[in-house]
């Protein structure tokens, strides 16, 4: 999908301050598709347009799908979960 050049341009345009991972074969993307979520879909398709919080051990601590009927445009649920996780002791 995206080339490195395109991804770099996009990151610059929108001022991303976080690392962006290029995933040429979809392996990293597939590894973050929770088991049982959209089982009929190829695993590297599942995280597209979804929201994840991944902790320091690499575990998924929050996952939400697009859900256009109840779309969380302001990421209220994700922010709430993030606040919970940030007060956890390491």
């Amino acid at each position: 999908m995206e080339t490195k050049t395109l991804a770099e341009g996009w990151a610059k345009r929108w001022g991303f301050t976080f690392p962006v991972l290029l995933d040429p074969d979809g392996a990293a993307t597939s590894s973050y598709a929770p088991a049982g979520v959209l089982p009929d879909l190829p695993r590297d398709q599942v995280p597209i347009a979804s929201n994840l919080i991944i902790d320091r051990e690499g575990k998924i601590r929050f996952f939400s799908l697009l859900d256009s009927a109840k779309f969380d445009a302001r990421l209220v649920a994700l922010r709430a979960r993030l606040d919970e996780l940030l007060v956890e002791k390491p």
Binding site: V20, D23, G26, L85
Partner: protein, 161 residues
């Protein structure tokens, strides 16, 4: 600490997205040499899915785009797309412009006066290409993908005296 990550999936990904769009041309476009016609390209989208219209409502979205290979025997004009339908994600303040169901894309074609004159019954050719799109349904967006498109064209000699 906690990190959010953006996963950019690259083109070499091994698994193609499910096919949710098909492209067909019900009948060959007939053009008299020296004349013009418009090909009607029918795009059918699987129920429950939508694709971004052309033009897309936001610059970061992937619009539906028909790309046909040039053929020296026929000239192509700019592809004409139907207007999209408004679609609003809950909680957002603006509409997306999308296609759902079936739509028709028009391709203006023009045959030079000399086209097909070397053959008694006319000239048959096929314009090959793809329809690029990104599809979403209620819970997921698929990777940008493309569906093959074939536009059969028949150029008939101008028999006017």
């Amino acid at each position: 600490m906690i990190a959010t990550a953006l996963l950019a999936v690259a083109a070499q990904a091994v698994t193609p997205p499910p096919l949710v769009v098909t492209v067909s041309v019900p009948e060959a476009v007939r053009i008299v040499a020296g004349g013009s016609a418009r090909a009607r390209v029918v795009v059918a989208i699987e129920k429950g899915f939508r694709i971004q219209a052309n033009p897309a409502s936001e610059p970061y979205l992937v619009p539906a785009r028909l790309r046909l290979k040039q053929d020296d025997r026929v000239r192509m004009g700019p592809v004409e797309y139907p207007p999209g339908k408004p679609y609003r994600l809950h909680g957002t303040s603006s509409d997306l412009s999308v296609y759902e169901g079936t739509l028709v894309v028009l391709v203006p074609l023009e045959a030079p006066g000399s086209a097909g004159t070397g053959t008694r019954g006319g000239l048959d050719l096929v314009l090959e290409g793809t329809l690029e799109y990104q599809a979403c349904n209620r819970v997921v967006c698929l990777k940008p993908s493309s569906a093959p498109a074939r536009v059969p064209v028949r150029i008939e000699p101008d028999r006017r005296p």
